[in-house]
């Protein structure tokens, strides 16, 4: 206790201190370094989110294509398609699936909907058989922008391919 009191008295009587300029410079330097560090951490988090969403989009796109090929219209994720337009005469189909932040299926009206998968199919029916070569285009979009992103609805992943499947009938679709 006596040692502490002595030390306190000594430090109060100490006439050496920091000038205002020194304080401003040191606090300023630390603030700049701190801001830079926080920026780096925030960027790392942002990039992590982007890569995770991109990976999930690729996986989802492959699942959709393979499900269409396997004619699994009554199973995940095709059972959640909200068809915008189905035209079986000239063989075109347009449908959307909505997902929340955990990639669980939700509806377009849900305010928590964060991702949109747009599916476009178009083809000319083979007159000879019951199969059609379809041009398929899938686009996964983020409905809300990223924290520091420029685009309001960034496209995460888009792919175009062709599939040769049984000609779509209206009762096949959800």
């Amino acid at each position: 206790m006596i040692w502490f009191l002595k030390k306190t008295k000594k430090s109060i009587n100490n006439r050496f201190g920091f000038t205002l300029a020194e304080l401003i410079i040191s606090v300023g330097t630390l603030a700049i370094v701190g801001i830079l560090t926080i920026q780096f951490f925030l960027s790392a988090k942002d990039i992590n989110i982007r890569s995770s969403e991109l990976d999930h989009s690729v996986y989802l796109t492959n699942t959709i294509i393979e499900s269409i090929k396997a004619d699994l219209w009554d199973r995940y994720p095709l059972d959640a398609i909200s068809p915008n337009s189905i035209e079986t005469n000239n063989q075109s189909f347009e449908g959307y699936i909505f997902f929340n932040k955990d990639w669980q299926i939700t509806s377009a009206t849900d305010p928590r909907a964060l991702f949109e998968a747009a599916i476009f199919l178009s083809g000319q029916a083979n007159e000879l058989g019951d199969r059609t070569l379809y041009d398929i285009s899938i686009e996964i979009k983020r409905i809300k922008p990223y924290f520091r992103g420029n685009e309001s609805q960034p496209v995460l992943y888009a792919t175009d391919t062709k599939i040769y499947i049984e000609t779509l009938k209206e009762d096949l679709l959800p």
Partner: protein
């Protein structure tokens, strides 16, 4: 004991070091997540290329389907001739009661997909896709030289 009684502090060094550590770890974290993102982009690009190539495969299957359906009643040998004439890159090989139609498709980046279709004259399901498979591309290292190394004789 001497160190414990020392009243001189080194708070500035402590602050500098802690900020330095924070800085280093933040840069490391960002580099790690950026390389992860680059890998995700590469994966996405590979998938796009594969999809494009697979589209070509299905387009070919559709053309082949049309030829085979149109000439369903044609003689076996003439049907085979028709298939061979369709494309220069088609390889047809005979099997018992039928033939195998094989073709390889090459993408822009050297990606290779092999398609094999079987045509069986006696089967009710006369032709079907046997295989659509991505073939690993064989490559050789450039300017790689091996030198002879003397093996010591332990005898």
């Amino acid at each position: 004991m001497k160190l414990l009684k020392n009243e001189k502090g080194s708070s500035s060094i402590l602050v500098i070091l802690s900020f330095l550590m924070l800085g280093i770890f933040s840069v490391l974290g960002m580099m790690s997540s950026y390389s992860d993102y680059k890998l995700a982009l590469k994966n996405a690009s590979w998938n796009q290329q594969y999809d494009r190539l697979q589209g070509e495969v299905y387009s070919f299957v559709s053309d082949m389907d049309a030829v085979l359906i149109k000439n369903e009643d044609a003689a076996f040998e003439s049907l085979k001739e028709m298939v061979i004439e369709m494309d220069d890159e088609i390889v047809v090989s005979d099997i018992l009661n039928g033939f195998i139609i094989a073709r390889e498709f090459e993408g822009e980046s050297g990606k290779l997909i092999r398609l094999e279709m079987a045509y069986m004259s006696s089967s009710p399901d006369r032709y079907h896709i046997k295989m659509i498979k991505e073939i690993p591309v064989i490559f050789t290292y450039e300017e790689l030289e091996f030198t002879d190394v003397e093996v010591p004789n332990n005898d």
